[in-house]
């Protein structure tokens, strides 16, 4: 008997043994389970008092929150309100932090000069490291400190499973799992966290699709870019609360585009490289609970805000130094940064951006939080350092560099759709254990981003609107 037939024989024998075992185990298992439940029922009958009042509350709320008429609009409304509170609440503390940190920069700068530090050291540490960190802190900290607690509150209330309940049918049409909406919700905070959250999806195929598309939900590192550009170019004329409301509307629209792309890409993946049928889904809808405020604040501030901020700062500091060096090292008459931007410019122009923007996105691979500071630093590196304390100055800077509404829209779309950050890619590799799928997690969004921006730009230019 050759080895292969022996192996085949063994395999067949194993299979048969497994079938017999399973047929008995199912029967035996059923009896054990029925017995356990009988026991549990008896115990619970004796010790548990039913709070019908609380149940009625949940029933009544669900009559609205998961109804045909209000289910979807309410989800949109909740998203819009959270964004609006975040944007309008973050404005003032952001400005205050920026003013404080940039005046600290001046003091630092003077200190360096007084000590007679060499210009390059002064540049790297103050204009490179400190400037980037100050930007990241002042732009990111306030929205995070508002957004995360609000989101944790929603989680604590028990609303998120209802989102999955409402959206499952759409996911089923894309042949994926409704729980993907929960992993997308996590992605709002951080895509790396969203990718890890995909473990809750049972089917490996559907889990992989959720991992590969998580990036289409803008994470906290990308929100500030969307908010800043939305404010500068979307609603320049409005002021105060009206402005915050309009920006919240724009961002909600951007998120809806991201959700649409998630469905579209999931649909395509389910019918191409990850072919398969929708598997089952079991979803528990727990009763609504009164949130524990202290635990919400602790969890959102310590576990999330500080965690994400720490990561952002630890990336921004060295990145700031490197970018300052690249911007201030000259080959011939032109700095390395300008060389690179010049080389990228033709590609960038085709998708309605410029070389500096594309370079900022590329250099921002370690963390999306630093894309904006890199862009600003490269725009102003040619001239003297200017203080950018208000969005109006930022608007002037961008318009000076040839930005139009089309540039703004393209940058927002590219921010939403482009490749995941380094941390997310590393997490994807860890979760999938495969270089191939990590590469796919990079290539799919990149292709989508370039395609969408290219088509939009060429169409607008063809129609002569831009």
């Amino acid at each position: 008997m050759s080895i292969t037939t022996e192996k085949d024989f063994l395999q067949e024998l194993n299979k048969e043994a497994e079938t017999i075992r399973l047929s008995y185990v199912t029967k035996l298992g059923d009896r054990i389970i029925a017995d356990i439940y009988k026991n549990a029922e008896q115990i619970s009958k004796n010790v548990i008092l039913n709070d019908t009042n609380k149940k009625n509350w949940t029933l009544k709320l669900d009559n609205y929150l998961t109804s045909k008429i209000f289910g979807y609009p309410f989800m949109l409304l909740v998203l819009g309100i959270i964004l609006w509170i975040t944007i309008s609440g973050a404005n003032l503390p952001s400005d205050m932090l920026a003013t404080a940190l940039f005046s600290l920069q001046e003091i630092l700068s003077r200190g360096f000069l007084d000590l007679g530090a060499p210009a390059w050291l002064h540049g790297i540490l103050v204009f490179g490291v400190f400037h980037s960190v100050a930007w990241v802190v002042s732009v990111m900290l306030p929205p995070m400190a508002i957004f995360f607690p609000l989101f944790t509150l929603l989680e604590d209330l028990g609303y998120l499973p209802r989102v999955a309940f409402n959206l499952d049918n759409l996911f089923k049409k894309a042949k994926t799992c409704g729980k993907q909406s929960l992993t997308m919700c996590m992605g709002f905070g951080c895509n790396a966290a969203g990718v890890v959250a995909c473990r809750i999806i049972d089917s490996p195929r559907e889990r992989l699709i959720a991992v590969l598309t998580n990036n289409f939900v803008p994470c906290n590192g990308r929100f500030p870019i969307l908010i800043a550009i939305g404010t500068i170019f979307g609603v320049g004329a409005l002021t105060g609360q009206l402005q915050a409301l309009a920006v919240a509307g724009i961002i909600t629209g951007v998120i809806l585009i991201g959700v649409f792309v998630t469905f579209a890409v999931s649909w395509i993946l389910s019918r191409s490289i990850l072919k398969g049928e929708a598997s089952s889904m079991v979803l528990e809808l727990p009763p609504y609970r009164r949130p524990k405020i202290a635990s919400v604040v602790y969890r959102s501030i310590i576990d999330r805000t500080i965690f994400v901020l720490k990561r952002a700062v630890s990336v921004a500091a060295p990145a700031g130094a490197i970018i300052w060096i690249v911007a201030n090292t000259y080959i011939g008459e032109i700095s390395i940064l300008n060389h690179l931007a010049g080389w990228l410019n033709p590609f960038a122009q085709a998708i309605g951006m410029d070389g500096y923007i594309l370079l900022a996105f590329i250099l921002g691979l370690p963390a999306n939080e630093i894309v904006f500071p890199i862009l600003i630093m490269s725009y102003i590196s040619s001239g003297t350092m200017i203080e950018l304390e208000s969005l109006a100055e930022l608007r002037l800077l961008f318009i000076d560099h040839g930005w139009t509404w089309l540039t703004a829209v393209n940058v927002m779309l590219f921010t939403l759709l482009h490749w995941p950050c380094g941390t997310t890619l590393l997490t994807t590799h860890k979760e999938t254990g495969s270089k191939k799928w990590t590469l796919a997690a990079f290539i799919i969004p990149t292709t989508v981003a370039f395609t969408v921006c290219f088509i939009l730009t060429q169409t607008v230019r063809l129609l002569g609107l831009g």
Binding site: D30, T58, A278, V282
Partner: protein, 81 residues
């Protein structure tokens, strides 16, 4: 084994009505999940509501609410009460 002609798939249970679980025709992981949640033969289950677009459906089992897709609920035989 007696054949009960009144048995219908759980997915056909109308909203607001209750039933007793008969046979669970599911296999593997899903069967385990369903049983872990307390859906065992003889258990009373109430059909609570359908999702905004008609699927999934929420059922009340032993005081908890559990949502199942039509395709999965179809595999569970029940006797309406």
């Amino acid at each position: 084994m007696t054949v009960d002609f009144n048995a219908i798939p759980l997915s056909q249970l109308s909203i607001g009505s209750s039933c007793r679980i008969g046979e669970i025709g599911l296999n593997g992981l899903l069967r385990r999940r369903i049983q872990d949640l307390g859906i065992t033969p003889g258990t009373t289950v109430e059909c609570l509501r359908r999702g905004p677009s008609g699927d999934p459906t929420a059922y009340v089992v032993r005081g908890t609410t559990i949502a199942l897709r039509k395709e999965d609920a179809y595999q569970i035989n029940v006797f309406p009460i």
